[in-house]
């Protein structure tokens, strides 16, 4: 079982620390890459894509509340990039506003999860995410080359 890469776009240091701690508890072969905002995340993704498809993360976990670039803008740019548009995106947000949920899916998000307040539940969520998106889900980074599709 290869190591799955997770790109976490999160500006809150507390949440980053909690995420790292939770991932430890999940006990899955996961590599966590942190981007502090959308720009940083894009920079990383573009660099990685230049080096080949297999370097791209298996999943992007995105917090909705970000500085410098809004999550909407980030998702739009990602959607327009032919190399990056197929990476599964999971929105992990404290908000369950209908508007946020709908817009996320409209812009190509693959999943929307409310960030639980309780740490234990947070660990459960991450475990399920890892199991599903890294273990079960077949993503393009595993050598599958798609023709350009509109």
């Amino acid at each position: 079982m290869s190591t799955g890469k997770i790109l976490l776009v999160e500006d809150d240091q507390n949440d980053i620390m909690l995420m790292e701690r939770a991932l430890e508890k999940v006990d899955l072969p996961l590599e966590l890459i942190i981007a502090r905002d959308g720009k940083e995340a894009l920079e990383y993704l573009r660099n990685e894509s230049n080096d080949g498809q297999e370097k791209l993360p298996s999943i992007i976990i995105l917090d909705l509340n970000m500085p410098r670039m809004s999550w909407l803008e980030f998702l739009k740019i990602l959607n327009q990039d032919s190399k990056l548009r197929r990476i599964p995106i999971v929105i992990l947000s404290s908000s369950i506003e209908t508007r946020d949920i709908c817009e996320s899916y409209d812009l190509g998000a693959n999943s929307y999860i409310q960030k639980p307040v309780e740490f234990e539940k947070f660990v459960d969520v991450l475990r399920m995410l890892g199991l599903y998106w890294i273990t079960l889900n077949i993503s393009t980074e595993r050598g599958i080359t798609c023709d350009r599709q509109s």
Partner: protein
């Protein structure tokens, strides 16, 4: 006179014949030339010497009777005339030659002649040769003084004619035609008259013939001079043989006046002197009356027609008609009175010839005053009273007014309408007696009929005038303005209310141009409206008027065309309401409304802003408040895990408490969000199986709390039209509550069901839990109110508030019943 100029004496007998209806049908005339006879008589008497010569020239037979009364000689032109041979009587005595009683009579006459020397005429008849012959003998003393000469003429033809004449007279006698033979004297004494004279004149034939009464004295004094002049006029003309009088009046023995027609034949002697008048007199009173009636009626109708054409005023009309009646009846005095039912008096409408102090006085039907009015009496007895002569009616002498007016003959007709109600009286009379008569009854009846019609019309007119007055009063006092404007746009009528609107008085307005008061900008409108009115169209429009003070008043005008009696449009009737204040108020309201709308808009915008803020707040709550909580929870967990050894039990307990607080706060945030979301969410009502939904909710609760055994009874297949997501929240909350509050009950029971009453379906969730105090019922449904301590029962206090919101969003109601320790039941309806 004959054509050759010879004078002849002729006897004329003329009878005018009439049929049963007294209509003239012809004349029987008989004439005889008596010239010769006359002359012979004269000559015979004059000279005996000429007798013989004379005898030969006359047609008569001559017999000579000697002193011993024997027939001694005879002379006859033709032997045949004797009807018997001369031997039968010559030399024979009178008794031998002639039959009795003629013989005795003749002997007596002959002896008389011999003794007196006077001639005697004697008529006699003899039966000769089977037939009766009539003879007339003139016996005279012969010149010798002893013999008597008898000149005998056969008068059989004459006698027969006379008999016929008498027969005719008999006919006349049974008819109404009276035949007279008057002597030509100054009083026209009567020589002969038929027996029926009594019927007409009241005097018997004997009274006439004996000279007790003479004809001139029975002729009405007013007519006598005319009759005399007619007679003398015709008599002067020697050739005139007969003439007919203009009808004249005669006064009968009973003092009655009769009208007669008189056809007269003039009788002259040989010398042309008038000796007699012979004529027939006929009673034409009835015809005369009929004629008079016709003439009178003509006069009456003429006066009515004149009255109808010329008088607009009822009084004038009544006067004209009354005048017509009085004139036609030949009377001088009259009144026409109208009955005033309210005052119970007879009020004079018209009068003729009544003295001023009585003329205008009402005749009361009640009270002591009524006694002096004859009209009141007649009205009370409801009878037509005809008095030809008051002197024959002493019972009427008590009526003072009759005496005051010196009425001798009068008639009073009380007038009743078809309903037998008194409408008035007609009274007419004269200071002379017999000016009214029972004979005129029909005429009076006609008058009555006419006057009743007239007076009824007058009463109707008065009633009409009264109702007109009432209408006018009503119009005048109506709170809405009324104007009537003619086609020249001049005011014909304005009421008080209109005057109040416009500030001018009625006098200032009526007759003036209505356009003067119209706002200049509305003149165009007015001319359009006038055209519409001429087309007969009604309409309602707004019109600005300028008041006397110069203010502008806004009015609403409802105008209809006004038509005359013939349906021709003659102007406009308009209802004018001053709506100035209303219009101004409306304008104010409009302004206020606009302001209000703006305010509402502003407030809405503010509200929307507030809602947006709330949304932003909700977002913040859900996102920004949860993040720190997560941090608190995450790191307190991290401390518990990583630094467990360095903390004692108390420290670890504190950290756990921190984490419980986080959990509670997290739930609170969820509930608040849910509560606010319920308000914003759009409803989508579909048929929802509540029973099934309740089952799902209960399953969830069982999963979350698997240790508990709760007996849940759900009535199957309750279907309701509602928003499924929202109603799920309701059921979840209510079941959760029930679940929660039965946690300390031994045998927890929850029941979900529905009751239907009066088409209202009430759903309920009942439990046998701890219940609640009745006094807390209201607080139950308010947000953040908790009835129990949090360590007893979990809960944010938002749940029931959310439920209430959802139910009211569905147009339903929610309420609860409960008792402490005896469980609770929550009811709700969904409209």
């Amino acid at each position: 006179m004959t054509r050759t100029g010879e004078k002849r004496v002729i006897t004329w007998n003329t009878i005018i014949l009439r049929d049963a209806k007294n209509k003239f049908i012809g004349v029987i005339s008989s004439g005889e030339d008596v010239t010769k006879r006359k002359r012979a008589e004269d000559e015979l008497v004059a000279s005996e010497l000429r007798v013989r010569t004379l005898l030969q020239s006359i047609q008569d037979m001559v017999f000579v009777i000697d002193e011993t009364n024997h027939f001694s000689d005879y002379y006859v032109q033709k032997e045949d005339d004797l009807y018997t041979p001369p031997s039968r009587f010559i030399g024979k005595g009178i008794p031998d030659a002639l039959p009795e009683p003629l013989a005795s009579e003749l002997v007596k006459i002959v002896e008389d002649v011999r003794r007196t020397g006077e001639s005697v005429t004697h008529d006699y008849d003899l039966v000769i040769a089977g037939g009766r012959k009539w003879f007339s003998a003139i016996l005279s003393l012969h010149a010798d003084g002893k013999s008597v000469v008898a000149v005998v003429r056969d008068i059989t033809d004459q006698k027969k004619a006379l008999e016929e004449l008498e027969e005719a007279y008999k006919i006349i006698t049974v008819s109404s035609v009276v035949a007279f033979l008057w002597k030509n004297d100054d009083k026209w004494s009567v020589e002969f008259v038929t027996e029926n004279v009594h019927d007409l004149f009241g005097y018997s034939a004997d009274e006439w013939i004996s000279g007790t009464i003479r004809y001139a004295s029975v002729i009405h004094p007013d007519d006598l001079p005319r009759v005399i002049s007619e007679v003398s006029g015709f008599s002067e003309d020697a050739l005139c043989e007969s003439f007919i009088h203009e009808p004249y009046r005669i006064i009968t023995k009973n003092n009655e006046i009769r009208w007669v027609s008189d056809s007269t034949v003039i009788r002259r002697d040989t010398r042309g002197n008038i000796t007699h008048y012979q004529g027939v007199v006929t009673d034409i009173t009835d015809e005369r009356h009929a004629l008079q009636k016709v003439q009178r009626e003509r006069t009456v109708f003429k006066s009515i027609a004149k009255a109808a054409i010329h008088s607009e005023d009822a009084t004038e009309m009544a006067n004209l008609i009354l005048n017509g009646f009085i004139g036609a009846m030949g009377l001088e005095i009259g009144t026409l009175r109208l009955y005033d039912r309210k005052k119970s008096v007879l009020r004079p409408t018209a009068s003729v010839g009544i003295m001023n102090d009585l003329k205008d006085k009402d005749a009361p039907l009640k009270g002591p005053d009524s006694e002096s009015y004859f009209v009141s009496y007649a009205a009370k007895v409801r009878k037509r009273i005809i008095v030809p002569n008051i002197d024959e009616h002493p019972e009427y002498h008590s009526f003072k007014n009759l005496a005051k007016m010196n009425l001798k003959s009068f008639i009073v007709i009380p007038l009743f309408n078809a309903k037998k109600e008194l409408v008035g009286t007609f009274a007419a009379g004269s200071t002379e007696p017999y000016k009214v008569s029972f004979d005129d009854y029909e005429f009076y009846e006609a008058i009555e009929e006419l006057l009743v019609t007239l007076l009824e019309r007058e009463q109707t007119k008065q009633a009409y005038r009264m109702s007109l007055r009432r209408y006018r009063e009503l119009l005048t006092n109506l709170s809405e303005g009324i104007t009537i404007v003619d086609l020249d746009k001049k005011y014909v009528f304005v009421n008080k209310a209109f005057c109040n609107i416009i500030g001018y008085s009625e006098e200032e307005l009526v007759g003036t141009d209505s356009r003067v008061n119209v706002h200049p900008d509305d003149l165009e409108l007015i001319s359009q409206e006038t055209e519409a009115r001429k087309m007969g169209m009604p309409s309602t429009y707004r019109l600005r008027l300028i008041t006397k003070k110069g203010d502008v008043r806004i009015t609403r005008v409802s105008a209809i065309p006004s038509r005359d009696d013939f349906g021709e449009i003659e102007g406009t009737v308009a209802l004018v309401s001053d709506i100035t204040d209303r219009v101004r108020a409306e304008e104010e309201v409009k302004t206020l409304n606009i302001e209000l709308a703006k305010r509402v808009e502003d407030r809405t915008a503010e509200l929307q802003a507030a809602v947006s803020e709330l949304e932003a707040f909700a977002y913040t709550v859900s996102h920004d408040l949860r993040a720190p909580l997560r941090v608190i929870d995450g790191f307190s967990q991290a401390i518990l895990e990583d630094y467990s050894e360095t903390l004692d039990d108390v420290g670890r307990d504190f950290l756990r408490r921190i984490r419980v607080g986080v959990t509670n706060m997290s739930r609170l945030i969820e509930d608040i969000l849910g509560f606010s979301r319920v308000t914003r969410i759009d409803m989508d009502r579909v048929d929802v199986n509540l029973s099934r939904l309740a089952g799902e909710v209960v399953s969830e609760l069982r999963e979350l709390d698997p240790q508990r055994t709760v007996n849940v009874d759900i009535q199957p297949d309750i279907i309701a039209r509602c928003d499924k997501r929202l109603i799920r929240i309701v059921l979840h909350n209510l079941f959760e509550n029930a679940w929660k509050f039965t946690s300390q009950t031994d045998d927890p029971q929850i029941r979900f069901g529905m009751k239907e009453q009066d088409e209202t379906r009430t759903f309920y969730i009942q439990d046998n839990g701890i219940g609640f105090d009745k006094r807390d019922t209201e607080r139950l449904f308010k947000p953040f109110h908790r009835l129990h301590r949090s360590d007893e029962f979990e809960g944010s206090g938002i749940g029931l508030a959310t439920v209430t919101r959802i139910i009211s969003k569905h147009g339903g109601e929610i309420w609860a019943e409960g008792k402490v320790g005896k469980g609770a039941t929550f009811f709700f309806t969904l409209s």
